[in-house]
């Protein structure tokens, strides 16, 4: 218990620290590497936050269960007796161990660290402002890569002309925001019922007060940030002059992160709906705020999110391990390429000429081609599905892996049809009512447009996926995944259900592939190697199989982080590998597992009732006969 308390207080401090360093580092932009530590901090904060929530879930439920399961096997347990929950069944408000003292300690630790960092950076800026040349010193003291990691690129520190007052204000502001964030995070895991009580807290710091403060902090954070930006401009820009892009990225991350906090902390109902709408609008603004490079990275990330969500249906819902998922991605991409690029095979050209259509103009625009690409991919999914229906597990994985390679080799070697390794060039761009998107919003770059499309498509796919999860078909998939025979015996048509999973998964991959083709403009068979499948699979495993939110986080971690870590150049793969290992130890079920998975992976240690049933099974043989005998006593006499 004591150990637990210590762990909790350390975690609380860490969360506070993570939030603070994140927010304060916003003020120190470097190259893109400047995003590394803040991003890590954000991810750490999210992980801890969800960790609190999870512990809270599991701690309260089994406690309630234990009360009633304890009665099992006793004569009192009868059919027809309904166990009403005990009247004094209170739900602890804060996760165990976050007592008033720990909360104070955590907040204090966070605030102190934040202030220290803030003061240090103030001093540096002040020194620069006073004409002290720290540049050479800095270059000697700090290895390049480390500097990049904390957000300072030695070669890039500009001589700043910044008033100390503005920096002071900035420092105070970020320390304050850090405390708000820490408060929001610590209370974020607690249950938001005003009626709940907690006797762990000192009198003057009642739980509802903390909760209210945390909730308000969470809601206030994004608004305060926006106010800051409106009043003082992008933080850090004037301080260091250069690299506005990094600031833009960090800003969107902060806004999204705090928006998510706000969403969690808001009361269900009207308040939550408002926050959801604001959050959605905020996320949709991202393509407009980010610069071209960031948009291109995020566009790729969200194309992978689309794929991850589709693959999740096949792997996470239906339990069919598909290692050749790239095949459908490639089918979608090539279908769109055929329809929209000037190149077509001699066969198609001749056919088009016969029909009096110029082969140089695109056959179909992006939107007309979309259903075609989806349908083609779905047919591909069914074609793959039919031969592998009888296969399970490893065998299925190997066959699908082969299928993925077959498609790639087909594209590579059917030169007449696909232009082989020379690829298909000049694929046309998605338009908006027949115009280029730049005609509508001057703000939106071409990559931003791709990102926006990927974002919207991902949202649509996520909605479909979430609906499917709780639908009749979703239940059939989960049942089939657990036990095909029993599922079939309850009336599930296995063939149809499996093919539907393949087809729906493939459809989404086709969508993603089409957008990918448009993003790349030129596609080659080598774009569709095995590694695309591996990445798509890895991101759903890292993010948490079965959970759409987890998939977004997984895609950000797997496809976004390596780009962000470019700042640490040759070490980035190492850092990335280390992150993966740490994650697998800390959260084996993924960053944000779905409730269903969580049950599977945590059942042995976190649940009370199964132990009881195990006990019952152990002493099954002998006592059964003993007990059965007296039960049958009178009738035995009768029989003799």
């Amino acid at each position: 218990m004591r150990h637990d308390t210590v762990t909790r207080s350390v975690k609380t401090g860490l969360v506070a620290f993570a939030c603070l360093s994140y927010l304060i580092l916003v003020g120190i932009p470097g190259r893109i590497g400047g995003a590394a530590l803040p991003s890590l901090a954000l991810i750490a904060a999210l992980v801890f936050w969800f960790n609190f929530r999870r512990n809270e879930d599991f701690r309260t439920v089994p406690e309630r269960d234990r009360g009633s399961t304890g009665a099992e096997g006793k004569p009192g347990w009868q059919i027809g007796t309904n166990h009403a929950p005990a009247a004094n069944d209170t739900v602890p408000l804060l996760p165990a161990g976050i007592s008033g003292l720990n909360l104070h300690l955590g907040l204090a630790a966070g605030a102190t660290t934040g202030l220290l960092i803030a003061i240090c950076s103030s001093v540096i800026v002040a020194a620069i402002g006073n004409g002290v040349s720290i540049q050479p010193v800095f270059d000697k003291m700090v290895p390049l890569n480390v500097a990049a990691l904390v957000g300072v690129s030695p070669g890039q520190i500009a001589q700043a002309d910044v008033s100390p007052f503005r920096y002071l204000l900035q420092t105070v502001y970020f320390a304050g925001a850090g405390i708000l964030a820490a408060l929001a995070v610590t209370t974020g895991g607690a249950r938001l019922t005003d009626a709940a009580r907690s006797d762990r807290l000192p009198v003057n710091l009642s739980a509802p007060k903390i909760l209210a403060a945390g909730r308000l902090a969470g809601l206030a954070l994004p608004i305060v940030l926006l106010a800051f930006i409106v009043l003082l401009g992008l933080p850090g820009v004037s301080a260091f002059g250069s690299n506005e892009g990094t600031v833009r990225l960090l800003l969107t991350l902060v806004a999204t992160g705090s928006g998510l906090f706000a969403h969690r902390l808001s009361r269900p109902g009207r308040e939550r709906r408002i926050v959801t709408v604001l959050l959605g609008l905020g996320v949709l603004m991202m393509p407009f705020v980010l610069d071209q490079f960031q948009n291109s990275v995020m566009g790729l990330v969200f194309i992978y999110v689309m794929m991850g969500l589709g693959l999740n249906i096949v792997v996470g819902y239906a339990g069919l391990l598909d290692l050749g998922y790239v095949a459908f991605f490639a089918i979608g991409a090539y279908t769109y390429a055929f329809l929209s690029a000037p190149f077509s095979s001699p066969y198609i050209s001749n056919l088009l000429l016969l029909l009096n259509i110029s082969p140089d103009s695109p056959l179909l625009g992006y939107w007309m081609a979309l259903p075609v690409a989806m349908l083609t991919a779905a047919i591909g999914g069914i074609l793959l599905g039919i031969p592998v229906l009888r296969l399970r597990g490893d065998y299925l994985a190997i066959v699908t892996l082969g299928f993925g390679e077959i498609i790639r080799l087909f594209m590579l070697n059917m030169g007449e049809l696909t232009n082989g390794p020379r690829g298909i060039l000049e694929i046309s761009q998605p338009s908006l009512f027949g115009f280029a998107p730049e005609a509508f919003f001057g703000l939106l770059s071409s990559q931003g447009w791709t990102f926006l499309l990927a974002l919207i498509s991902s949202a649509l796919i996520a909605i479909v996926a979430i609906r499917l999860n709780s639908s009749r078909l979703g239940r059939a998939w989960f049942a089939m995944q657990e036990d095909e025979d029993v599922a079939e015996a309850t009336g599930v048509h296995l063939v149809r259900t499996k093919l539907l999973a393949f087809a729906i998964g493939a459809t989404f991959a086709g969508m993603a592939g089409q957008l990918y083709a448009a993003r790349q403009i030129n596609i080659f068979p080598e774009n569709f190697s095995l590694f695309v499948s591996i990445d798509a699979l890895a991101l759903i495993i890292v993010g948490g199989i079965g959970s759409p939110a987890g998939i977004v986080l997984g895609a950000l971690a797997l496809k976004g982080l390596p780009e962000v870590l470019r700042g640490v150049d040759e070490y980035r793969i190492v850092a990335f590998a280390a992150l993966l290992v740490i994650m697998m130890i800390v959260r084996p079920a993924g960053i944000l597992p779905s409730p269903r998975r969580r049950v599977q992976l945590t059942a042995p240690e976190e649940q009370g009732p199964p132990e009881l049933s195990d006990g019952a099974e152990e002493d099954f043989r002998e006592p059964l006969e003993k007990k059965a005998a007296p039960l049958n006593g009178p009738e035995k006499d009768e029989a003799q």
Partner: protein, 250 residues
């Protein structure tokens, strides 16, 4: 209602059922007893279509005559189950509660029960049946949102039976409902079987716990290495010295 005529089932080359013939009449509890490997579960799996019979026929009488597919039937004997895939057998109203419970561990209790009614489309009927099942098993009511895998053994067995009942079956195939349960729970389960039968359900019960099974049943069959060696009224079987020696441990 359910008639098996010299059914032969194989696992590859292994001849598991060597010509089983048995009958279950409407409203009866028929119990199938026998030692390990006698073919009890194989018989149930053959009826439900999870395994397919290589020879012989299984007939199931269907009152309202609505038939899926090309199932052949003889007028007086009903539908040939042995020619239908498992999911269609399930749709006809043959519901199996499998050995070892086999509940869907990651689905919630409610979803497990919904899976039982998978083949049905009458939503009012389903919610009625849900109420009925929850009345029969109040424990499940308390655990509706909990994943099936977190239930205790006894609760899982109740869930398995409840899931089978949710399909509003015409016949319930119960495979070793007492397996792995504490004695008091075994007693409860048999009490429930009696109750369900009293409500008019036809039940084919497979059990190792021969004594308890025969006490619930109207009639019984004794299986030995794939053939039926004895059959008769449950009371007679209980009194039979051979049965007593071999299965009742008296």
């Amino acid at each position: 209602m359910l008639i098996l005529e010299s059914v032969h089932t194989f696992y590859g080359h292994i001849h598991a059922l060597k010509g089983i013939s048995l009958t279950v009449n409407e409203g009866e509890v028929v119990s199938l007893i026998g030692s390990n490997g006698a073919g009890k579960t194989t018989t149930l799996n053959t009826i439900s279509g999870v395994l397919s019979a290589r020879a012989g026929s299984i007939y199931f009488q269907e009152p309202n005559g609505s038939l899926p597919g090309q199932a052949s039937r003889s007028p007086d004997q009903g539908i040939r189950l042995d020619q239908l895939p498992a999911h269609e057998v399930a749709r006809l109203g043959v519901s199996q509660s499998p050995e070892g419970r086999k509940i869907f561990a990651r689905l919630s209790v409610q979803e497990n029960l919904a899976m039982g009614a998978f083949a049905r489309t009458d939503s009012t009927g389903i919610s009625e049946d849900l109420d009925r099942v929850l009345e029969l098993f109040p424990r499940l009511q308390e655990r509706l949102k909990q994943p099936g895998g977190t239930l205790s053994g006894g609760e899982q067995q109740m869930l398995a039976i409840g899931r089978s009942l949710m399909s509003r079956p015409r016949i319930l195939l119960l495979d070793e409902p007492s397996m792995g349960l504490a004695p008091l729970l075994v007693q409860q389960i048999f009490q429930i079987i009696r109750e369900i039968n009293a409500q008019g359900m036809t039940i084919l019960l497979v059990e190792q716990n021969a004594q308890a099974a025969l006490q619930v049943a109207h009639r019984g069959y004794v299986l030995e290495t794939g053939t039926i060696v004895l059959s008769g009224k449950a009371g007679d079987l209980l009194a039979n010295p051979q049965v007593a020696e071999a299965y009742l441990g008296i």
